[in-house]
């Protein structure tokens, strides 16, 4: 019996050493199988009990089971230790470079003029205006005569015109769309005409092609006061601030009374000063932003509206102008240069 116990003691010591020496889960498992497995050495000790005197068997069996439990605990402990060490190793690896760029489809861009145009149309759409379109190549009647700009009238100087072979013109404003709509619909109506327009003009501040949005509202009882209300609300929405708006008398052949609308300079907040004299408003504190007025009765006469019954207002604004002010774009030619370094910014 002594020798059996001694043998058991030796096996346990050997197993504990094996467990302690196991460096990874695999070698630990090999040790576990060698000592604790179905055919392991401790099991073999139990099987060898036949050679032990019967009265000693329970004691030895109990000692074997105790040894098994101790070893199983040692294996578990060692297993946790190994797992912990491995986790530690994984967590202490090199820092991921989180500053590397993300993967995926690079995004393109929608042109800043399209975005501005959409913003303008959305705000006016909210006021009840519907969008209308017309041709870029117009006849002189719709572009001029119907808008009370007769031939040989100096008002034609206000709009340098591109002429097309065959007697047509490139529209100089989107106002002919208003005529086309009024020719086909009766009041009340509330429309915005938008699109490209063309002027025979090319310098730092003028582009031969640019974009306009024009509004027209005709109904009984529409007044100049309404025109002021609608445009003031529009300008404060598009520039997203309570900026001052002023209306001053001007002249357009198709409106009477006519007005030019100024907003408080967005650069210097109307002070006229920004690093010396403000470059945007040239020190005046005001920026000219759009033209407008009450529809001239002569225009109504051309489309057969009764100007005693109906009154209306119209306004026209340059999309480039608004985009330039909103995004601090200094040169109108950038819009048409298609330079990716410009396009990507919006």
């Amino acid at each position: 019996m002594e020798s059996a116990l001694q043998q058991l003691e030796d096996i346990e010591q050997e197993a504990l050493k094996g467990i302690a020496d196991a460096e990874d889960a695999e070698s630990l498992d090999r040790v576990r199988v060698e000592f604790l497995g179905k055919k392991g050495r401790l099991t073999r000790v139990l099987r060898g009990l036949a050679a032990v005197p019967a009265q000693d068997r329970p004691q030895i069996g109990q000692r074997v089971n105790e040894a098994k439990e101790r070893l199983a605990r040692a294996v578990d402990a060692r297993k946790s230790a190994i797992r912990e060490r491995e986790r530690e190793a994984r967590l202490s690896g090199p820092q991921l470079d989180i500053s590397l760029p993300g993967f995926g489809q690079p995004c393109g861009a929608i042109h800043v003029l399209s975005r501005t145009m959409a913003e303008i149309c959305d705000i006016l759409g909210g006021f009840g205006f519907c969008i209308a379109e017309g041709p870029d190549i117009e006849d002189e009647y719709h572009n001029f005569e119907a808008l009370n700009i007769p031939e040989d009238h100096p008002a034609r100087d206000m709009q340098d015109t591109f002429f097309v072979h065959g007697g047509r013109v490139l529209r100089t404003h989107t106002s002919p769309v208003q005529i086309r709509v009024m020719e086909s619909l009766q009041p009340p109506l509330q429309i915005i005409a938008r699109g490209s327009v063309y002027r025979h003009d090319d310098d730092v501040t003028h582009s031969p092609m640019f974009h306009q949005v024009e509004g027209l509202m005709v109904d009984e009882g529409v007044t100049f006061s309404h025109l002021k209300g609608v445009l003031t609300a529009f300008l404060q929405r598009i520039f997203e601030r309570e900026l001052p708006v002023r209306f001053r008398p001007s002249y357009f052949p198709f409106t009477e009374p006519s007005a030019e609308v100024d907003i408080g300079c967005v650069m210097c907040d109307g002070s006229g000063k920004a690093d010396g004299v403000c470059r945007i408003c040239k020190g005046s504190g005001w920026l000219e932003i759009l033209g407008c007025g009450m529809v001239d009765p002569a225009v109504f006469a051309h489309v057969g509206y009764d100007s005693e019954k109906y009154t209306g207002f119209a306004f026209g604004l340059g999309v480039e102008r608004i985009a330039m002010l909103k995004h601090r774009i200094g040169d109108i030619r950038l819009f048409y240069g298609s330079d990716l370094r410009f396009l990507k910014q919006f």
Binding site: G108, F224, M294, L340
Partner: protein
Amino acid sequence: MLLPLSWLSDFLEDLPGAEVLSERLTMAGLEIEAISRPSEGLAKNLVVGRIAGLEKHPNADRLSLCRVDDGEGVRPVVCGARNMKAGDCVVLAKPGAVLPGGVKIKAAKLRGVRSEGMLCSAGELGLAGDEEGILVLPDDLEPGSPAFELLGLNETVLELSITPNRGDCLSIRGLAREIAAVCGLRLKPGFDCEPSFPPAEASFSVKIEDAAACPGYRGLELHGVEVKQSPLWLRNRLSAAGMRPINNVVDVTNYVLLELGQPLHAFDAGLLSGREISVRTAAETQAFVSLDESEFELLPGDIVICDAEGVVALGGVMGGARSAMNADTTSVFLEAAVFAPRAIRRTSRRLGLVTESSYRFERGVDGGGLDRALSRAAELICDLAGAEVKGAASGILPAEAAPSIRVRCGRVNAVLGIDISAGESRDILERLGLTVGAVCEDGNFTAVVPPHRHDLQREIDLIEEIARVKGYDRVPPSMPAVVMRQNSQLPGEGLGRRLRERLRNSGLHESIGFSFCSAGMNRLFPGLHRSDCDAVQLENPLRSDESYLRKSLLSSLFEAFRRNLHNGATNVDLFSLGRSFCGGDPPGEIDALAGLLWGPRRARGPGSAGAATFWDGKGVLERALLPELGAAQLEWTVCAERPEYHPRAAARLSVDGRHLGFLGAVHPLVSEHLEIPEEIVVFEVDTRVLLEYAPLERALESIPRFPASTRDVSLLVPSDMLAAEVIGQVEGLREELLEQVSVFDEYAGSGIPEGRKALAFSMVYRSGERTLTDDEVSELHGRVVAHLLSSLPVALRD
């Protein structure tokens, strides 16, 4: 229009400062574009000097060394001009003076000789005039007296932008009248006094053959004229108003034009033939030499002034060379007339001859001012040129009935949306010079327009005047009551926004280009219009390479591409939504979408990583267009006949058999022609077709309950065969359990026989009722493959 304030104050009492005036005029519709103030750096240190002595610069042939008396002493001044002599009075800028250009005068050594100041030319002082050399002043001036005011440099000048309806504001006197009304200022006494026309016998007769072209003509003959330089005050005023002084007689006609707005012309009376002036419209095409010796061709309808020999002036535009004033002129015939605005405008625009005179006639000259202008001019010429009035001439004088307009108080308020009394409206119009009647019980009154306000014809014109003078800022803003109606949104609006969004998400950048292009670009890119249509040509292009409207958006995209290449871009993915044009009656306009892809990209689908391929473009287009087409599908057919596309790598797109556009690699000739790289993929689509489809309203399809089995097959097929043919054959079997067939690889090259390529397909089999067994699927797949092998010239790839 330049308005020197000292000149304005000849007519107005108590003129406010430039700032205040500018603000009030701007708010009354007379926009002030700029205020130019006297230069402070110049006010000091600018004096009259007298040249006490003059010699050559010892070290420089082209320079002179002047000894200049500045009133306190004589100082040396080196000068490069040659037009002065000893005894002349000149303008001396002493050290410390700052010239209008910003040059600061310092004492310095010039070529070894000390120079203490500078003798100034008119240009250097910012005065109008382009005479060579320095300014020589009258020699009765006192050396050392300040030259700043003497030269009118202390003038403040407003630059006004006058709208085309206000011809009456194109003169100092007209502006004074307007400013008095809108600013509530008092006019100087005598403003409205009738001029005293110099008494004279008629020495010329005037025959007006076309009274519509010339409703009024007056003339004065002056003798004993001595043509010479005008006095300083006159030259200063002309300069300040932006006109170049010439000689006393011409300067007076310009002075009167600026002051009263009535254009005058001075003929050399000695060069006129006969004693009759006739005014008519040219009957036939004829040549005319203007007083600046330019030749013009006159057409019937141009207004001409003639003497016995023929045309002496182009009426209202410019005088002729034959009767032009010159240094030997001693007698002058002064013309003051009114011409029909439209005829003047037609002539002036056709000949490209816009003069101060034509500009005013176009905008309407008040016929009542002829005598005032002639008597003012006569007075000045007699005074400055020692002349006397010798005779007169007179044609029909205008007798226009001034329109009388009824103003309804209710209408004024209905248009403006304010509450202004009839009395206040009446007062405003009276201030503007209208003759107003008493206010009737109904609040209405009549107003008679003065002759200078020919822009006021209708009640609405007067309503504008009432609002303008009252002040637009006195109209309170208010929101109209809007009738809510069904939203009839433009269908293209939503489409454009959705396409932009999807193309942006596919990595493309929106480009907006001009509608213009060259004839060459239109030949390269015929676009989506009928192949036989002409391009739209401009009559007056800004540049020769922009003389057509584009037939295709691709013209603009290729310009954009070239510019980006030039800027060093390595990847250019662009799209554009816009219009393309073709000739016809009416001309054709297509709303189109075009795109251009170039540069390396990651592999997506078949094909290797690297340059943009047809399939990159196809992916972009499918993602953009398919959601618009509802249940309809895009149809792709090989397109080998378009000149701009590669004949072996392009497709025609259609939907329900309707032509939509093209997609393909660019033809190598296009790249050669434009000197750009190859491997560019472009597309162009007519978006109007898309408007006829509506995005699909989706209903949920049930999610499969049983698993699918996938089998692949790799086939060797002829190089020209499209994968779509194989797929078409498979789909033609209508195998119920075959859920999907797709191509996942295309390969040609090593290991593949010449003239063939490998295509790999993937078939997905599934039943809606049970899980298919392996054997079932293999049997099915075998049948499908066998069908392909028997019906197409294809073989299995080992």
